[in-house]
């Protein structure tokens, strides 16, 4: 039955003859493992098409939707992480196997006449592959992809004469934006696949015309056909390559997705690993020679490979005789490997890079966590802009860290915020208000150490009382009984100077403790510190510079310190304290400048 159908089909299509033509190719010198790379590349290419089409069915090329849709693929769609991982690692594997293919062809001298054109097609495919990877990488519009593509298009802009125009064409304007993403997308899913398919077609056609190139000392009387020995070798190698891609994908859980890009946030940008060598070379060379790394050397390498069939043209030479042409290729490969290794090693030792990477990882983790509750139509950046744990640290670093240390970051000009308003922080304040971690580096020196004036019990009670001032719904419970015992102590021992609920110090002497450390109190302190510290205030009022939302987010972020441990240990060497007048005038000068 099946046979009869096959007969019928063959009669109509002639498929058997076509199949025989495809598989019956003669291989002079017999099947060889060294011939497997080309077909492995074809198999990966097909996998890239399949996984790419799947990803296209979800991905959205808009700057508000791109990150979100990739998040959705990575974390929501069934099998999405695996498909995305196969695609991402498949692309990288393609570059690796292309390198192997190129080396094999070079060692066997397969670029010599009459195969020059096919060698050039191969080089063109290598170039297209890089463009394909470079346009795919920024599609999630995440920090890594955005910054890498920004740098790459800038390098493109440094090409003499046509650079500026070329960059503007690719980016679709003067700056990275929506058109840039749409351009990358169209290049990646339409233009490059079509160009790639055409070139592969030509490459395979020419390969069939000339056949593989056996090593110079091969026994050419030994002949075999593609089917089945070479086919089996090719298949076995393709399976191994795909298994590596699959295991790689499973091991890292898909492919990395960094946080949605906010161009105003620092990101430790690095190119993708297969361009790290150029990056490292650029750093090792003096800045005046930057273009040597980005343009001249790649140009020379490309030119050398292009000209190779003419340079090395004598037929049937031994590999040893051809060494002068092979050495530059291997030296280049070795150099690339070495520079890549140095770049990775240097980054792993670079504390600054490591810290920035860790912060970026944390942003990515938080973004994914928030996205699980749904992303607003305005996009993931808007989602992060309303999250205290994303927006808070950014605002703190921009606005507060010039005076207040938090988690080891910032300057000791005002009270340290690490553990602010926690019991231990308050205890430290009672012990020595003039400590540089409290008010020692401000102009407020009126408060005396309270160690002698409070009994141990009173001290615990008054701390609990002040701590309780900052409580908000949802907090872990505090000791209300202890706090209520603290109130009379506070009224007795503290209110000569401090105000509480409109009572206390007649003349303004020290800050108001009503709701001390609560969201409203911190927000007031940020917006209008004079309202709390009166004339002794040195802090900038942020009511005009920050939106109400930002002040609220910052307050939530800072208030969380009541549950953290304050800073202890030796202080770093501090610069001399700025005088009040000079600081104020400096601030004023800054503002006038703006």
């Amino acid at each position: 039955m099946l046979n009869r159908f096959a007969e019928w089909l063959d009669d109509r299509t002639g498929y058997r003859a076509a199949l025989a033509r495809t598989l019956d190719e003669e291989i002079a010198g017999g099947a060889r493992f060294m011939y497997v790379f080309g077909n492995a590349l074809l198999v990966i290419f097909l996998c890239q098409l399949v996984t790419g089409l799947l990803l296209m069915s979800t991905y959205t090329p808009s700057i508000t939707g791109a990150w979100s849709s990739v998040y959705y693929i990575q974390h929501q769609v069934t099998g999405g992480w695996f498909v995305r991982g196969l695609h991402a690692h498949g692309a990288q594997m393609m570059i690796i196997v292309m390198g192997m293919h190129l080396l094999q062809v070079a060692v066997y001298g397969a670029y010599k006449q009459p195969r020059e054109v096919n060698w050039w097609l191969g080089l063109a495919l290598l170039g297209l592959m890089q463009a394909w990877a470079l346009t795919g990488n920024p599609l999630p519009w995440d920090e890594q992809g955005y910054w890498a593509s920004k740098i790459e298009t800038s390098i493109m802009g440094s090409v003499p004469v046509i650079g500026t125009a070329l960059q503007q064409l690719v980016v679709g304007g003067s700056d990275h934006g929506q058109i840039t993403l749409t351009h990358f997308y169209v290049m990646h899913v339409a233009v490059l696949p079509l160009a790639f398919t055409l070139l592969i077609g030509g490459h395979v056609m020419l390969f069939r015309r000339h056949g593989p190139t056996p090593p110079h000392d091969a026994d050419l009387t030994k002949r075999s056909r593609y089917w089945p020995a070479q086919a089996a070798l090719d298949t076995a190698f393709a399976v191994i390559v795909l298994l590596i891609i699959a295991i790689w994908t499973a091991a890292v859980g898909g492919a990395p997705l960094t946080a949605p890009v906010d161009p105003a946030i620092d990101y430790p940008a690095r190119p993708v690993w297969y361009f790290l060598f150029l990056y490292k070379l650029r750093i090792l060379l003096p800045p005046s020679l930057e273009q040597v790394a980005t343009l001249v050397l790649p140009g020379i390498a490309g030119g050398f490979l292009f000209a190779l069939p003419f340079l090395d043209h004598k037929a049937r030479q031994s590999t040893r005789q051809r060494l002068p042409w092979l050495v530059p290729i291997f030296a280049g490969g070795l150099g690339i490997g070495l520079l890549t290794w140095v770049a990775l090693r240097d980054d792993s030792k670079d504390a600054h890079f490591q810290k920035a990477s860790k912060q970026a990882d944390e942003r990515a983790r938080r973004s994914v966590q928030l996205a699980a509750n749904g992303i607003p139509p305005s996009g993931p950046l808007d989602m992060l802009a309303h999250d205290p744990w994303s927006r808070g640290p950014i605002l703190y670093a921009e606005q507060c860290a010039t005076c207040h240390v938090l988690n080891g970051e910032g300057e000791y000009n005002g009270p340290v915020q690490t553990g602010f308003a926690s019991r231990a922080w308050l205890d430290g304040l009672l012990h020595d208000p003039d400590d540089p971690r409290y008010f020692g580096r401000t102009n407020i020196h009126d408060m005396k150490a309270m160690d002698d004036k409070l009994s141990a019990d009173e001290r615990k009670a008054v701390i609990e009382f002040v701590f309780a001032q900052g409580a908000e719904p949802g907090d872990p419970p505090h000791d209300t009984e202890l706090a209520s015992r603290g109130e009379p102590v506070f009224r007795d021992k503290c209110m000569d100077c401090h105000v509480f609920k409109g009572e206390g110090a007649d003349t303004f002497d020290g800050p108001d403790f009503t709701g001390y450390g609560s969201l409203a109190w911190i927000a007031k302190q940020i917006a209008d510190p004079k309202a709390i510290y009166g004339d002794s205030n040195e802090m900038t009022a942020f009511a005009e510079d920050l939106s109400e939302t930002d002040i609220r987010l910052l307050s939530i972020y800072v208030r969380q310190q009541r549950f953290a441990a304050p800073e202890t240990g030796p202080l770093p060497k501090l610069p001399p304290k700025k005088a009040k007048a000079s600081q104020k005038s400096a601030e004023k000068a800054d503002r006038d400048d703006e």
Binding site: V43, L54, T78, V83, P228, A232, A236, G374, I375
Partner: protein
């Protein structure tokens, strides 16, 4: 090499190609199918929920009134708070009693309008008509308009907004 050895060698190679090819196909097909079938595995969308749609005062006893249903929508990765989800027809039928129908035609989901001259609902896509109580009068609609549960709270009409599958006689909820 003997003929037998050569044949078993060829068989082995063929087997390698077949097994390897199947392995590659499986590696792509299984996650690929899961990916494509995700909308089926994910199950239906949001369940019905009470949504405030109008002031009791703005709805009439004489003729039905169409009002938009505005509520939270989860659409793939997006969650939006005030999205127009659909339309309901409302009519007062008694003291604090309101009838409501989903304006989606049970035939193929077009929006049903009201024709005041004929005093009936019509779907202009395929000319189904429905009586004032929602019962099908004419045309291809397989059932009457889908009535929705209502309640009046503090002078506000709330509707239990549900969507139903089209094309069938029975009322089967989506979600």
């Amino acid at each position: 090499m003997s003929k037998d050895a050569s044949k078993s060698r060829r068989d082995f190679f063929s087997w390698v190609v077949a097994a390897g090819g199947s392995a590659i196909a499986t590696l792509l097909t299984v996650p690929g199918l899961a990916y494509v079938l995700d909308p089926l595995l994910r199950g239906a969308g949001q369940k019905g929920r009470w949504i405030r749609v109008a002031d009791l005062g703005s709805v009439s006893r004489e003729h039905p009134v169409a009002v938009p249903v505005i509520g939270e929508q989860v659409d793939a990765w997006t969650k939006a708070s005030a999205v127009r989800l659909g339309t309901v027809w409302l009519r007062v039928v008694g003291e604090n009693q309101v009838s409501a129908w989903n304006a989606e035609c049970p035939h193929l989901g077009c929006k049903v309008s009201f024709e005041s001259e004929k005093d009936c609902f019509t779907c202009r896509c395929h000319d189904s008509t429905f009586a004032l109580d929602g019962a099908v009068q004419d045309g291809p609609a397989p059932r009457g308009l889908d009535s929705l549960e209502t309640r009046v709270q503090n002078g506000q009409i709330e509707v239990q907004f549900i969507r139903f599958r089209t094309q069938i006689k029975e009322r089967v909820q989506i979600g």
